[in-house]
Amino acid sequence: MMATEDTTSTFGGIEIPDIVRRLLTNRKVAISLAVLIPIVIVTALGETIAPHDSLTTDVANRYAGPGGTYPLGTDNLGRDLLSRVIVGGQSSLLLGFGATGVSLALGVPIGLIAGYAKGRIDEVLMRLMDIVMSVPVLLLGVLILVALPSNIFNVIVAVGAVFIPRIARVTRSATLSVSEEPYVLAAKARGESTTHILFKEILPNVTAPIIIEGSIRVGYAILVGTSLSFLGLGTGPPHADWGYMIATARLHIYQTPWFLLWPSLALLVTIMSTNVLGDGLRDVLDPRATEDNL
């Protein structure tokens, strides 16, 4: 993925590396970023951009439909749904990116070591990963959160832990394929430390599959994390994330459908755009790769 002198083009006088141009001209990448970036910006701004305070109740206007003072309507306590969706997105997105960070931080080193060491170490590490993967995703999350107190940090750790094996697998197979490359053998011959070989020689050359897998995991992490908070095992009130919002909304569907529809839509669009982004990245960076797995 190295950019050499003849693979850059210019855009308004600014040089753009070839890889960026190829990414941005990919339809899937372009569309998903065009959706995802505004979502991230709006949620990051949170309370500063929300039209109302997300916690202020207006009992006279409970279950209001969209329009008027409250653009998307109100919930069971008369709180503004638009503001709640914007602020609630913060923990959902934090969870998606945070959990992916956790699984990268642990999964990548495990995969590098297994793929580079080969033999028995590889066998033991990968078996262990298989065993962790044999616990159904949501049950593993439930198990971890039963043991740990529920707060956003622990949810991030729990969801991150669930996806470590998948990151480790992808990293390992990429590492296996480059571990006999001349530059790795040369570093070994120079007497470089194993840490140097793993992180300075191998890692930079296996980033493509890791980036692809990571981007796919963000969507799944949001999906699993919001599912856990739907079960009451995540971030609770008052700063409820989309999962918890939907859990509450479900109890009021006979009073108003909007309470349920807006956070569902936000969740769906966010997860879908990260999935499309992952697909687009794969098309560009690693066209021969196959489907992802749950």
Binding site: R127, S134, V135, L143, V146, G219, L261, S264
Partner: protein, 318 residues
């Protein structure tokens, strides 16, 4: 060679079960708030808590309880529920049967609908049909089951489309139609992600197969596209789907926790959620372990099916 490979797989399956049971035991030990305190509620005194703990066997040394649990995993004896005094296995058996009905029905739905759609999309690659099918699958893989379940409830159980019951379970013995009516919504919401995922996997592996050399040869022999597809491509193209179905079974075993809770479906998932809120330790442990075991053996089964379906694979010979 295949026997050796399969024997190895069986050993690994049991080893995994042993390690998972240790993992489950270790993590539930850290469970905050003991059952004794929850049962006694506001009535508790230091003495009464101790007495209840004694009755529950919670005062035995940790290693004794660990051995009990691991041995129990293989003999299906996880002791008594702390809350209802029933043997855990008696609580689990009927609920597992209901959960398996749900999961297998959901699986059947994705096999009879998603696989054909995936094949059609692959055969008509890059046409409007393909684009439509793949776009639908994009939406499908992105809907968490609690969202699809809530939306189904909103649209199909309230007027004007009051078509299904909002939840519950009716045994098959009380009639096929009531049984099916109660099963459809939970099965569909359990299925949306898996359906989309099976569809995508079928499509991409069929495309790969249709581009292979032996399919080109079959076409050059002058066979019709229909017979190329039916006689030559399907068998190989569907192989990866077998593995995918097994992976999806594991996904379902986790998602039942959510779907059963939403549709008040009295299966394993609800049992787990309830046990967690009551801190019913033996039920939580077995409740997480049993679906995991089901998944481990589903994978084993998929491996066996795979080796029989594809004579080219001699997995033992590596």
């Amino acid at each position: 060679m295949n026997t050796l490979y399969l024997a190895k797989r069986v050993v690994i399956a049991f080893l995994s079960l042993f390690i998972v049971s240790s993992l489950v035991f270790g993590m539930t030990m850290a469970l905050p708030g003991s059952a004794a305190e929850i049962i006694l509620g506001t009535q508790q005194t230091e003495e009464s808590v101790q007495q209840v703990r004694e009755e529950m066997g919670l005062n035995r040394p940790l290693h004794v309880r660990y051995l009990d649990f691991v041995v129990g995993t293989f003999t299906l004896d996880w002791g008594q529920s702390l809350v209802s005094d029933q043997p855990v296995v008696d609580l689990i058996a009927p609920r597992l049967a209901r959960t398996l009905q749900l999961a297998l029905f959901a699986m059947l739905l994705s096999i009879v609908i998603a696989i054909p759609l995936g094949v059609i999309a692959a055969a008509d690659r890059d046409t409007i049909v393909d684009t439509l099918i793949t776009s639908v699958s994009y939406v499908g893989v992105s809907i968490p089951s609690f969202v699809s379940a809530s939306l189904l409830l909103l649209f199909l159980t309230t007027p004007p489309l009051d078509l299904f019951p909002t939840g519950g379970f009716v045994p098959f013995s009380e009639g096929f139609v009531p049984w099916l009516r109660h099963l459809i919504l939970p099965a569909v919401s359990l299925n949306v992600i898996i359906f989309a995922y099976v569809l995508r996997q079928t499509r991409s592996s069929m495309i790969e197969t249709l581009e292979s050399d032996y399919i080109r040869t079959a076409r050059l022999k002058g066979l019709t596209e229909r017979s190329v597809l039916a006689k030559h491509a399907l068998r190989n193209g569907l192989l990866p789907t077998v593995t995918v179905l097994a992976i999806n079974f594991g996904w379902m075993m986790g998602s039942v926790v959510i779907v059963e809770e939403i549709f008040s479906y009295p299966g394993m998932g609800r049992l787990i959620v309830q046990a967690i809120s009551e801190r019913d330790l033996p039920v939580i442990q077995a409740g997480i372990l049993v679906p995991t075991a089901a998944f481990i053996f589903a994978n084993l089964l998929a491996d066996i099916v795979y080796t029989y379906l594809d004579p080219r694979i001699q997995l033992g010979e590596q």
